[in-house]
């Protein structure tokens, strides 16, 4: 029976705590008497028979949807869309749950004699997925059956003939999505819901849309009013997507939503028979055995001697042994409400009160650097965007508090994946780090830049406007926090982000005390694996 999450009050007997530190780890001793650590619940057990659960979900849909088999008929136009490379993190071991679901959907379509099927990676303005990445997501069988004839492909939000305007919300937000999907008799959307932000109307209204639609909710105002964007009912980002979903529904776009949740078994767990050499990272530190400690020391020693490129290659090749914990299908909103309950069951930990200082270790991966480089902008996005927002109720840190993150933050970019990030870092951040000013002054020129557009469409580059969205993602945290300190980062890169560099955690706490006063209370968001605080 997996144990629930835990808030540990640190005392003098508490062992040092593991922090992610990019492609490595660090052990930090937190001050006793005024620190607490939020430990995630242990990984939930997976479904006994995933394929049977998928088939059951398809034939017993939620909400007012009909079973999938009755929605499919010979001669129809079917489009299957699926979440792109940004989910899950790290990528899961084969077979990916998207493959299992898509195969089940296609098998049902085959039984109904559906010939006109297209499969689209719903990546919005993310980079295109490579053949290997697509094969990993959908499996070789589906890839070989559809990709050679051009029936499995990446969404192209800049294709002038490939997008269709559906309408406008009551708030004046333009809704435009992939034309093939919009003109299909049925869209089947296949999600992996790693965290509560994923899924719902965001799948279609964001994943299949383009800049003209996205700018209505991927902006500073929306993000500052999403408290947090992991809490769908208090997220302006989701409210906007839900309004767009209504336009889609009223516009006759028929969607059969399939959402799947996975547990937080990132590095393997003995109790679930998924143990790996890194399983100690899933454990609470005081429960490490002699073997765990020896493995950790050996790993640290090895990582210290490895060149950065080799370390990146090793970590990026990691495939998590996630287990599928639920599958639900049917009408979008009914499905998503059920999904939220299942993601919260894995991630939520009740926490009382806010803190002066929030600490976190940032890993080597975020949604936008799979098989790529974690550049400084993505460090900011992961820390201030994703991890800061892993709360429901109130932020873990008080207004004006300090956020201390651990990450090497190298001044390094992937030239193919992140070309506009380089210019954003060199030009925009050199001028200002204020999200509002950045949005007003620079966004449009990057978004409409022909060269970035060309790279997005034909190479493997994120769209020109994407680094702006990364910055907006952290705008709620920037508005809320008094200071951000990065421990162990490249000082030049950290300063360019507008943050304070520190070489040790003790230095960082010293810097923090200038803002929040001496002897501040500290809360550490323990990661790995993923955790979300329910703050009252």
């Amino acid at each position: 029976m997996p144990r629930p999450g835990l808030v540990l009050d640190v005392d003098s007997s508490t062992p040092p705590i593991v922090f992610h530190h990019g492609e490595g780890f660090a052990l930090e001793k937190l001050p006793a008497g005024r620190s607490r650590v939020i430990y995630p619940p242990e990984p939930l057990e997976g479904l006994k028979d995933v394929d049977a659960s998928i088939r059951h979900a398809l034939e017993h849909p939620l909400g007012d949807s009909q079973p999938l088999s009755t929605l499919l008929f010979s001669g129809m136009k079917l489009t299957i869309c699926f979440d792109d490379i940004s989910l899950p993190l790290p990528p899961m071991k084969k077979p990916d749950v998207r493959q299992r679901v898509i195969e089940a959907v296609l098998d049902t379509a085959a039984a109904a004699g559906v010939d006109d099927v297209e499969i689209i990676a719903a990546l919005a303005l993310h980079r295109r997925m490579t053949e290997d990445e697509l094969r990993h997501a959908v499996g070789d069988r589906v890839y070989d059956a559809f990709a050679p004839s051009g029936k499995l492909y990446n969404h192209d939000a800049e294709d002038p003939d490939g997008m269709l305007e559906i309408g406008t919300t009551e708030h004046g937000e333009l809704v435009e999505i992939n034309k093939r999907a919009a003109t299909s008799d049925l869209i089947v959307y296949v999600n992996i819901n790693l965290v509560s932000m994923d899924g719902g109307w965001k799948s279609t209204a964001t994943g299949l849309s383009g800049y003209r639609s996205l700018r209505h909710h991927h902006n500073v105002h929306t993000m500052q009013h999403s408290t947090s964007f992991m809490d769908r009912h208090r997220s302006e980002l989701h409210h906007s997507n839900w309004r767009m979903g209504k336009v889609l529904r009223d516009g006759g776009v028929k969607i059969f939503q399939i959402e799947t949740t996975v547990n937080n078994d990132t590095f393997g767990t003995h109790a679930l028979d998924t143990a790996t050499p890194l399983s100690m990272l899933q454990k609470r530190e005081w429960e490490w055995t002699a073997k765990d400690r020896a493995s950790f020391l050996a790993m640290q020693s090895g990582l210290k001697r490895m060149p950065a490129r080799a370390k990146r290659a090793v970590f990026q090749s990691w495939k998590a042994p996630y287990a599928v914990t639920s599958v639900q299908a049917g009408e979008v909103e009914a499905v998503h409400e059920q999904t939220l309950q299942n993601t919260f069951a894995q991630h939520l930990v009740p926490v009382e009160g806010q803190t002066d200082v929030l600490t976190m270790g940032l890993p080597y991966i975020c949604p936008y650097n799979v098989n790529s480089v974690m550049n400084p902008i993505l460090v900011m996005c992961l820390g201030l965007g994703y991890f800061f927002n892993m709360y429901r109720g109130k932020p873990l840190v008080r207004q004006g508090g300090v956020l201390i993150m651990r990450h090497p933050t190298p001044w390094e970019f992937h030239p193919v994946h992140h070309p506009s990030y380089i210019d954003f870092f060199e030009q925009v951040l050199a001028d200002t780090t204020d999200p509002v000013e950045i949005e007003q002054k620079y966004e449009q020129s990057f978004a409409e830049d022909e060269w970035y557009r060309h790279l997005y469409r034909t190479s493997y580059a994120y769209h020109g406007v994407h680094p702006f969205y990364m910055w907006y993602w952290g705008s709620h945290a920037l508005q809320h926090l008094g200071k951000v300190v990065i421990v162990g980062g490249d000082p030049k890169a950290v300063r360019r982000l507008g943050f304070s560099p520190a070489s040790t955690m003790a230095d960082a706490l010293e810097i923090a005390s200038d803002v929040v006063g001496p002897q501040p209370t500290i809360t550490h968001l323990h990661n790995p694996p993923l955790v979300m605080a329910d703050v009252t």
Binding site: P95, Q99, D107, A110, G113, V117, D140, D144, D273
Partner: protein, 316 residues
Amino acid sequence: MSVLDRLGVELPDPRRKLRQLTFPLTAPTTPRGVEPLPVEKKTGADYDTEWARTFRARWARTVLLEAVLRPTAAVVARPERKGLDRLEDLRQGERAQPVIFCANHHSHVDTPVVLTSLPEPWRYQVFVGAAADYFFRTRVTGAAAALLLNAIPIERATVTRRSADLAAQLIGEGWSMLIFPEGGRSPDGWGQDFRGGAAYLARRTGAPVVPIHLAGTDRILPKGAKKLKPGPTTVTFGDPLRAEEGEDTRRLAARIEAAVAALADEHTSDWYQARTRAHAGKTPGLGGPEVASWRRAWALGDRAQRKRRKPAWPPR
């Protein structure tokens, strides 16, 4: 005239000398009117293979598999393995659920190709059901099959109690089984009807059946050929099948055959087309068209895997 003849030297004839030997140097003859003792058969279905599952034999087999069979199969058959992800749900942590692998059978190359294609941990915990009247005809061939392939003798004509008991016992002990339900190699490149042995064992033991389709081995060493002709092969693993409540052996055997036929269809077309035909009941059978032999041979050429190489020009 040889030198020895010119010299008048006569060498002893060893055959003549052997014939001259008598009891106790030769076996005794049975007196007339006495009932001879029954001969204890140690070949065919009676060959005892227990020694081949001892620790030493397993160790030797692992070395032979990895050091001899794998490189040989890689050079001769260049196998491409597909559908291994379908076995993931049969894993129980680091252990593996015992399963019955059922493959179509074209050639003597099939067994090494499948054995070297099985993922761990099945690869080292599998035995092969081999024809008792062929592989275990003599003690030498039986010993070789038992050591190299961990083969056990199976009667082709019918599942005898001895064969079935041994196979069921081994599956119960955690071994997986590789069996070719056609009972022998294809005589003309097309498949033959599946026999009920695998289905019977699946029903008896509750072990899932994993259908396997082999393509290309018929071109490397077809039945009757004496020379290897290296070429590419494809090994496609299918979804595990389980005996359903109340399902008899014949129906399960038919399902296994249909699953292998669907994998063959998947190999020659693509997965979605194969599924569409399977649902419509139009999967081409393994047996090929029922026409004159030359037309069957002609039709074999149509089974080649569809090539989908992207044209180099124009760029897309």
